[in-house]
Amino acid sequence: METQRPAQRRDTQDRRHEGIVSDVEGFNKRAGRAVKDQELHDSIQTFTGKAVAARNAVLHALPEAPELRQRAYHIKRKTMANLDRYLEQMADRVEARGGNVFFAEDGEAVVRYIGDLARRKEAKVITKAKSMATEEIELNRRLEEDYADLDLEIVETDLGEWIAQLAGDHPSHIVGPILHMNKRRITEVLSGVAGEQLPPDVEALGSFARRRLREKFLAADIGITGANFGVAETGTVVTVTNEGNARLVTSVPPVHVVVMGIEKLIPSFEDLSVFTRLLARSGTGQKLTVYTNFITGPRGEGELDGAEEFHLVLLDNGRSNILGTDFEEALYCIRCGACLNVCPVYRQTGGHAYGSTYSGPIGAVITPLLKGTSEAKDLPFASSLCGACWEACPVGIPLHDLLLKLRNRQVDEGVRSKGETLAFKGFENTMRSPALFKISGKMGRVAQRPLLKDGSVRPLPGPLGAWTNSRDLPPLAKKSFRELWKEGI
């Protein structure tokens, strides 16, 4: 049965075509729209508020959390320093268990690999469990377009991802893909698919989704999942879910394909125990997610479940360029979403404003790293550098420092505007010279005289207008501190 799609709304359609890259002013424009959207604001506040409260409570009850965080950081550092070795080990173990391993340089290679596999298998239905890596490479759209003759039906089976897919929309959060939609909108989307008005009731909507998705699970020829972790010592892929959909995606169809970013590797099961204690606590405030699946190759002799054929696709897509650089810590991310939930910018704008698969602080860091300095130029500035992300990160990634370094990289690579560059040269010259600094202050006091009204500066044109449009600007004081000091305090 074919999935019916309601007509796409104009705004979601736009988003679909923006892809992973946004233009210079993109964030600002989208954020400007987002902060005026009260429904969006309420949805984000509800989700992030609950997630942060649950996370704080559950981490508070785990006294060893700070130590685990340090261990997680060091495990990731060790892994990245020896990633080639661990990748080889992972591949060897998977192959020894009868699985296939494919190293994909980019999204294109993944699309070719899976598309050709689907052709060989004469696949019609592909079920998918939630995977940010496949979102990153827009796997669904590209398979549908590049392999149109196969007429594939690709079905997302994570409830949120499925609803996003039905709505022609993109996830706006790593963990809560449709947190931007409220119950009214979800009812609208699912009613469109049902062909009848469903009641706006969680149970009714849930059981409708369950019925529909069961049909797809049973009909699937290929199942695709991402991976939360890859354990190199055994070749085990670990997925965590709350809905159990990954279990059905990996055990019902005869073929299972895992698309895993190469940074998801960890050396051993002992290391894994550090991350499993941190991931769900940080992401959703659970001690563990409902399901934690361990999959090591295809179904073995005497085993009761598992796919007959197993493929591990290891995705680079720009990640290896980050290895060994000042930005390597960005690869330590375990995609828990905690940095999004605590980010005061994300909490105002939601994920779509970032114009990228990955939103929030981690998205602002890795999008330009994966795509290059001149792409997504706005994202390193989508932060007040408050550091809440770093504080919340279960791996201790100094996200705000990485954003600073990205801003600096833009300067070094000459992609910043001439005006701004000149302004900071001027700043440098003024601030290295006490005399010039003093004179600037005095000149400012003279210059502001015609601009004062009721003790504040009148609305200004130009860059300062960005301030005065929404906030009063205090005038320069009649006497500076240094003048008062000279006169005697």
Partner: protein, 246 residues
């Protein structure tokens, strides 16, 4: 004890009364206060915008100015500018061993105002009076890089007539963020509005912070939206001689 006063550039020209209160309080406690007149700015605007070379020039000037004079400490009425020197100078000079060492030495002596009062001078009661119900906003650098969280509260709890209140999500950034406030004005303003809603919910009539930059942002939005909430830097509240006109 000899302390050098580091007055952030915007405090120097916009809120000089904050610096004056710091001087009065420290002198009353018997501290010898010097004001090295060569000082300008810590360089943070350039640094936060990614212009690291320009920030390094300003940082070198700052180190030259504050290294002389045999000061036991450098005190600054801003958690953010303190952090720039104590945390981000070593970051900027990471690959330049001589200057890195200089920055670490100086960084170890730079103290945020409330940190110096409570942890160095051992003072929590300054005999100040203020009639009002207030919330305190901890700047993000002060909260996360410096970890100076309780000190302002201890000082404020001893102010006669002042009732300190809690407010919702007080750990959230106010939205100033330096050039962020003009580069991303919509989000910056929305962040201020969230703080203002929390302030309204608390029932406070006064907003206090250890960072005049956060206050400039929040006060600017408060006034634009018709709020007459009183807004003060911590030093002004603690200074019995401050007329508290602002």
């Amino acid at each position: 004890m000899k302390v050098a006063l580091f007055v952030p550039c915007y405090v120097d020209v916009i809120n000089p009364e904050v610096g004056v209160s710091v001087v009065r309080i420290l002198r009353k406690l018997g501290v010898e206060v010097a004001y090295p007149e060569g000082q300008t700015c810590c360089g943070q605007p350039a640094f936060n915008s990614g212009f690291f070379d320009q920030a390094r020039t300003v940082a070198r000037h700052f180190m030259d100015v504050f290294e002389g004079g045999d000061y036991d400490y450098v005190v600054c009425p801003s958690g953010s500018c303190t952090t720039m020197v104590s945390h981000y100078y070593p970051f900027l000079f990471k690959d330049l061993p001589d200057e890195r060492e200089r920055s670490e030495e100086l960084g170890g002596r730079v103290r945020e105002f409330s940190d110096l009062l409570v942890n160095v001078l051992g003072v929590t009661d300054l005999g100040a009076r203020y009639e009002g119900r207030a919330v305190f906003h901890t700047g993000c650098h002060q909260r996360r890089e410096l970890g100076v969280l309780n000190e302002p509260r201890e000082l404020l709890e001893n102010v006669e007539g002042l009732e300190m209140l809690g407010w919702k999500n007080e750990e959230l950034c106010c939205g100033f963020g330096g050039t962020f406030s003009v580069k991303m004005p919509h989000v910056s303003t929305a962040m201020a509005d969230e703080k203002i809603r929390a302030l309204e919910g608390s029932g406070a009539d006064t907003l206090i912070s250890g960072d005049s930059s956060c206050l400039m942002h929040l006060k600017g939005r408060l006034r634009r939206t018709g709020h007459d909430t009183r807004v003060y830097h911590l030093a002004q509240i603690l200074d019995p001689e401050n007329g508290k006109a602002g």
